[in-house]
């Protein structure tokens, strides 16, 4: 599905600043679903799909958001390289109507590519609410390209966009630079190889001395070209007595300002939306924390209440009758055991996934998706940075860590974009270590639901503490500089839309099932035979000093720890089952959930880490994570037993 080949059809690339609704448009245009949320860099890798417009087939590519072709972060190199290799025939730029001025500098750059450009205005309704009127006709005239007003809510503008795709012509450059710069650009452009895409853009980047232009650029790597180009650029610098980079950005900026002013008009006084005031409260040191505690409590109540209700519902009307029916059908013995025994393929695999874990994930994803769509997470990142700046992390690393609560793998991929190596390592470690991902957190809440709200906050305090400690230690251990020049636009707070939220939740569940269900069933089969042949009992005996002695947990935890190796949720589900059976005390439950939070990150996360830092460092990190997780869980038991007597 993802292997849709790029070369087959003309390519339409969707570009724009971060968080401007590119993936939303992609989803609507191609009738596919990729994750959308209200924070920058939701899309980290490109999404590809086919689109048929009036018998013509196109390949639509949705790329991560970026600010400018002059590279300041890794994801921007990625976008530029993708563009040069895929050589799109049409470019669609998504512009959030509210951030028109901020987007037009990028438009100026896109106009320099010499390709057909369509501007797609998203979230137009929001500007109306703010008392700003945006005339798309005037904007289209100023830019010389088609401008489509698109609303994801009402799904209008899609037909107009398709029409525009069929007849859009090549766009013309809009910004003129001072004559010496123009001359130099022309000269440099003529020196570039004939088959190089976007010669004007690359000439400009060369003149602006973007160092990343030379990276992996096969065209510029040609014999002697680099020397010639550098010579020419040096000549230019000698004779042109100004910082060309500043002149160029200023020209673009003032052009953007002029175009925006010509197409925007204020209707009366600007109304500051109340939601933005809420954003301020979310980041406030006291109120922000109060809200965070409220949010966490809502999480707890929703997962415990809603998931419990759904689970009961499913059990009563679906899985219990089904099990009873199968039990009646099959005689007691191997096959019944194989299907419905303690480690049965159905009981531990299929029914477990659908009947227990799915309701929990549903409740969790619902609330998490709500927070994502409101735009809470970037604000939370800023709130938490107050504490985590002590850990040698700059603002750049906070969002990936906070997003680790959604999916550690995605968060690790995002952490890749952190420019400083030291910060990247710390962030990757902290994400993998004690941040519970959505599935884990959901199951942890469900488990602790049997022990009351207090246990949940004790758990959070514990993982918060170990994260901070790990951060401080890593900050000491890893050498390198933190690079503190972070600039991040915060997303507009939005009221979430129920339909979009449900779609997202259901897709997340579907992705979970697609990925995890086979593993659940295979793991059930494996552990069934381990038990059948008595290997499990032997393993339990082997692990007893550790599990019983150090951690103070019952024997069944060995199964949970084995299952974690297959899939995190499976192990967490096992802990939930043990807790439901009433075999864990308050302290034991806390130790168990803390352990599974820290112990072995999921396979996808491990792969993401190793890809980024290499086999050796990755292996070291995993070893450290696992050893410290067992040590810390034991310490937690000791500490808690002091107060509660284990």
């Amino acid at each position: 599905m993802r292997k849709c080949r790029l070369q087959d059809h003309p390519v339409i690339a969707i570009l724009g600043l971060p968080n401007t609704g590119k993936t939303q448009l992609f989803n609507q245009l191609t009738q596919r679903y990729e994750l959308v949320a209200n924070y920058p860099l939701t899309t980290i890798e490109k999404n590809i799909a086919k689109l048929k417009v009036a018998n013509k087939i196109f390949t639509v590519v949705d790329l991560p958001g970026f600010h400018s072709f002059f590279v300041t972060a890794e994801e921007e190199v990625y976008v530029r390289q993708e563009l040069t290799t895929m050589r799109p025939t049409i470019i669609i730029q998504c512009i959030e109507a509210q951030r028109l001025k901020q987007s037009l500098s990028l438009t100026a750059e896109l106009l320099e590519l010499g390709l057909p450009l369509i501007v797609c205005l998203t979230a137009v309704d929001e500007t109306k609410r703010q008392g700003i009127k945006l005339s798309s006709q005037r904007l289209a005239r100023a830019l010389g390209v088609p401008v489509i007003e698109y609303s994801a809510l009402t799904n209008t503008g899609l037909e107009a966009l398709k029409k525009a795709i069929l007849k859009v012509g090549i766009a013309k450059r809009a910004v003129r630079y001072p004559l010496p710069i123009e001359k130099a650009l022309k000269k440099l452009g003529s020196m570039l190889p004939e088959d190089m895409p976007f010669p004007f853009l690359f000439a400009r980047l060369l003149l602006e001395r973007d160092p990343s232009v030379w990276q992996n650029n096969s065209w510029l790597a040609r014999e002697g070209l680099k020397a010639q180009l550098t010579e020419k650029i040096q000549d230019f610098i000698l004779t042109y007595r100004a910082n060309s980079n500043r002149i160029i950005t200023e020209k673009m900026g003032s052009w953007a300002e002029k175009v925006a002013e010509s197409s925007l008009s204020r209707e009366g006084q600007l109304k500051e939306i109340r939601l933005q005031r809420l954003a301020f409260v979310l980041r406030h040191p006291w109120w922000g924390f109060l809200i965070l505690i409220m949010v966490l409590t809502i999480f707890y109540l929703a997962v415990v209440g809603l998931a419990g209700f759904l689970e009961d519902l499913l059990a009563t009307f679906c899985f219990d009758p089904l099990s009873a029916f199968i039990k009646e059908l099959l005689p007691q013995g191997f096959w019944q055991d194989f299907l419905l025994g303690e480690f049965g393929v159905l009981s531990l695999g299929l029914f477990n996934a659908l009947g227990t874990i799915l309701p929990i994930l549903f409740s969790f994803f619902l609330i998490y998706g709500l927070l994502e769509d409101i735009g809470y997470l970037p604000n939370l990142a800023i709130l938490l940075q107050r504490f985590l700046s002590k850990l040698g992390l700059s603002g750049r690393s906070m969002l990936p860590i906070v997003l680790g609560f959604g999916c550690k793998t995605m968060a690790s991929l995002m952490a890749k974009t952190i420019p400083s190596r030291k910060e990247k390592l710390i962030a990757l470690y902290l994400i993998a270590f004690a941040i519970p991902c959505s599935a884990q957190l959901g199951l942890v809440i469900a488990t602790l639901g049997h022990y009351g709200l207090l246990s949940f906050f004790v758990y959070l305090a514990f993982i918060g503490l170990v994260e901070v400690l790990a951060g401080i230690i890593l900050n000491r251990l890893i050498k390198g500089e933190r690079r503190a020049d972070f600039i991040q636009e915060l997303p507009t707070l939005r009221l979430p839309k129920l339909k979009a939220l449900m779609t997202k939740t259901i897709y997340r569940l579907w992705w979970f099932l697609r990925e995890a269900l086979p593993i659940f069933i295979i793991a059930a089969v494996v552990i069934f035979f381990l038990n059948y042949w008595g290997i499990l009992a032997w393993l339990k005996g082997l692990a007893r000093p550790l599990v019983n002695g150090w951690l103070g947990l019952p024997d069944q935890m060995v199964e949970a720890l084995l299952l974690i190796l297959a899939r995190n949720e499976l192990g967490a589900g096992q802990v939930l089952k043990i807790a439901q059976a009433g075999q864990l005390s308050w302290v034991q439950a806390l130790v168990a959930v803390s352990l599974i939070t820290m112990f072995v990150p999921c396979l996808a996360n491990v792969i993401a880490i190793i890809k980024e830092v290499g086999l050796k460092t990755g292996f070291l990190m995993l070893l450290a994570i696992n050893l410290t997780s067992i040590a810390l869980a034991g310490l937690l038991r000791l500490a808690l037993s002091l107060f509660y007597g284990g």
Partner: protein
């Protein structure tokens, strides 16, 4: 001030005949060294047809510059460097004056001094010139606040964003980027001179509002954004904080919350 040193000491020029021309050479060399390459050949390129070897050699004789063998690795002597730095400084400050004060497009020659919006800056210039009462053509200059107070020292007219108080708005005067790539981002966010920003919070990162969007900045970036001191204002009409009397401490959150509520009920 340095500019005065240069412009108000004519004997400085008289000592060296052809001072103006020599200064051109010093400026050119300074820029070349800043760019990292300096050879006689490039000096020729830079100065074009006006290049005369004699002037260069006289600079060497004066002990202002040094030259390696075969016209490469040109450099300053300590004295020469000091001279060149002063020249560059006054040159660029003059440019700043023309662009910022006299209304921008100096290439076009359209300088419009009367359109300066920042009174503090006008006052600063007035104080610098000793509160003159007549223009060069003999017409009267209306006295400003600074003349009435007969201020003697020039007050600083820009402060970094980091010195703003939470909730204050101000007009951006200068924006500096620590890396070239940052310019594009700052420009994209419209963090450019002349724009009004409002500081929403200053810890742990700075959050500012600009052009209806909220941007989080790290302290190093915020310190590179300079605003006009005179333009600082509170949105609710309070006066800018007078220097010396600190704002009341404590209950900041309560006051802010109260203000939020009050403003919330108005619209």
């Amino acid at each position: 001030m340095h500019e005065q040193d240069i412009h108000f000491h004519p004997q400085h020029h008289r000592q060296h005949a052809g001072g103006r021309a020599k200064e051109e050479y010093l400026e050119a060399l300074w820029t070349m060294l800043y760019e990292g390459r300096a050879s006689l050949e490039e000096l020729k390129k830079r100065l074009g047809s006006g290049f005369k070897l004699g002037i260069w050699q006289s600079l060497i004789m004066d002990g202002l510059v040094t030259q390696g063998s075969e016209g490469v690795s040109l450099d300053f002597t300590p004295e020469g460097r000091q001279r060149a730095e002063k020249l560059i400084r006054s040159h660029r400050l003059a440019e700043r004056l023309i662009v910022d004060v006299l209304g921008g497009a100096y290439e076009a020659g359209a300088c419009e001094f009367e359109h300066i919006r920042h009174e503090a800056l006008v006052d600063a210039i007035c104080t610098l010139l000793g509160h003159p009462r007549e223009c060069p053509h003999g017409l009267p200059i209306p006295p400003g606040e600074c003349c009435r107070r007969a201020a003697n020292a020039v007050k600083r007219s820009v402060i970094p964003l980091t010195q703003l108080e939470v909730g204050q708005s101000a007009v951006i005067a200068y924006v500096y980027a620590s890396r070239d790539g940052q310019l594009h981002i700052l420009e994209g966010l419209r963090l450019v001179p002349g724009k009004v920003i409002r500081l929403h919070q200053n810890r742990p990162v700075y959050v500012i509002e600009i052009e209806e969007s909220h941007v989080a900045l790290e302290e190093t970036v915020a310190a590179n954004i300079q605003v006009w001191l005179d333009s600082c204002y509170w949105e609710d009409g309070r006066n800018p904080p007078s220097q010396g009397s600190p704002r009341p401490r404590g209950f900041g959150w309560g006051r802010r919350w109260f203000r939020l509520l009050r403003r919330g009920s108005k619209d």
